[in-house]
């Protein structure tokens, strides 16, 4: 054991974390490292990955269920960075764009177009389902409920479907290919949201309102069927088998 042996310290500790004085880079040398940030990021995540790997190997668990990054600092720093970008964009636009002050609201005048905000168009479209409100023969061709109540109940049906779906499918799939049926159900639902939104503004569309009404229910079915066929086709092949092996780690069901 010589004095130059780097593995041995007089206090019994291992190789020091603090570099010897003659190896500490000067500020000039630090500034000259132009690849600092990307290198630092790479080393940071590589070290985190290594620590994770070591923990797995030391652990008494055979395999951990969840693969992920800790919320502090990884997720928090990333979310702060993303949030800062959006806050900066908002501040920039609000500081530099000319402010718009619209005409004051006139309570004595009905606006030409009455519509809710765009994200509620789908619900507004559901209120226009009068043409499919059934006229029952046993009631002598009368409707069992008014078109307005029918539209409101349609909203309840949509909310009920959204509430029930988590109980039918727990969401164990990482990617749409793994569960083509439920993926296509999702595609059909999103398409239905768009088509009912279009139905809400059908008087502004350059399409015949009857065609719009039919498309409202046909397009979701078509989109769901097409996505089901595409996803079923994607289940076969080399890449799918490879991914199936690679993504063995998945959240608990």
């Amino acid at each position: 054991m010589s004095d130059n042996d780097p593995q041995t310290e007089t206090d019994g500790s291992g190789p020091g974390i603090v570099a010897p004085d003659d190896e500490v880079p000067t500020w000039r040398e630090r500034k000259e490292r132009t690849t600092g940030l990307s290198r630092l990021t790479y080393e940071y995540f590589e070290r985190a990955r290594r620590e994770d790997q070591d923990l797995r190997q030391e652990s008494s668990y055979v395999e951990r269920d969840v693969l992920g990054f800790p919320s502090w600092p990884h997720e928090t720093v990333r979310n702060l960075a993303i949030g800062s970008v959006f806050i900066g964009m908002l501040l920039f636009l609000s500081a530099t764009m000319p402010p718009h002050l619209g005409d004051p609201a006139n309570p004595a005048e009905t606006p030409e177009i009455i519509l809710p905000d765009w994200y509620l168009y789908w619900s507004f479209g559901l209120l226009q389902l009068g043409p499919i409100n059934p006229e029952l023969t046993i009631l002598g061709g009368e409707k069992i409920m008014s078109d307005e109540l029918y539209g409101v109940l349609a909203n309840a049906v949509v909310f009920g479907a959204i509430a029930v779906i988590p109980f039918l499918n727990k969401g164990g799939a990482r990617r749409p290919v793994e569960q083509p049926f439920w993926s296509s159900v999702g595609v059909a639902g999103v398409t239905f949201a768009f088509t009912t939104s279009a139905l809400a503004v059908d008087n502004l569309l350059p399409i015949d309102p009857n065609i719009t009404f039919d498309l409202t229910f046909l397009l979701p079915l078509v989109a769901g069927a097409v996505s089901y066929a595409v996803l079923k086709t994607m289940r076969e092949g080399y890449m799918y088998n490879l991914n199936q092996r690679y993504y063995r780690l998945r959240p608990p069901r």
Partner: protein, 86 residues
């Protein structure tokens, strides 16, 4: 690859933000008509003319800058790799 993406994305974002700022001042005659792409001022003063030039320059910078980092540089790298190996 990821670095090139975020460079192009930063150029696109900054360029479009600055373009949007000038377009909202000079090409938005009213809230109820065409916004950001409306007709420019009839008789621009010197400062307005400068601002309009900067606005067009930022739009071109956003589009061509993003295209450069997303398409041209990766394509040229692929081409260089291809011709280096063959």
């Amino acid at each position: 690859m990821a670095d090139e993406f975020v460079k192009g994305f930063a150029i696109l974002t900054v360029g479009l933000l600055v373009w949007m700022m000038f377009a909202s001042w000079f090409n938005t005659p009213s809230f109820y008509e065409a916004q950001l792409i409306g007709p420019g001022p009839e008789d621009p003063t010197t400062y307005e003319a400068i601002a309009l030039i900067v606005k067009d320059a930022m739009l071109a910078f956003a589009i061509f800058g993003a295209l450069t980092f997303w398409v041209i540089i990766p394509a040229s790298r692929r081409a260089r790799e291809y011709y280096a190996t063959n």
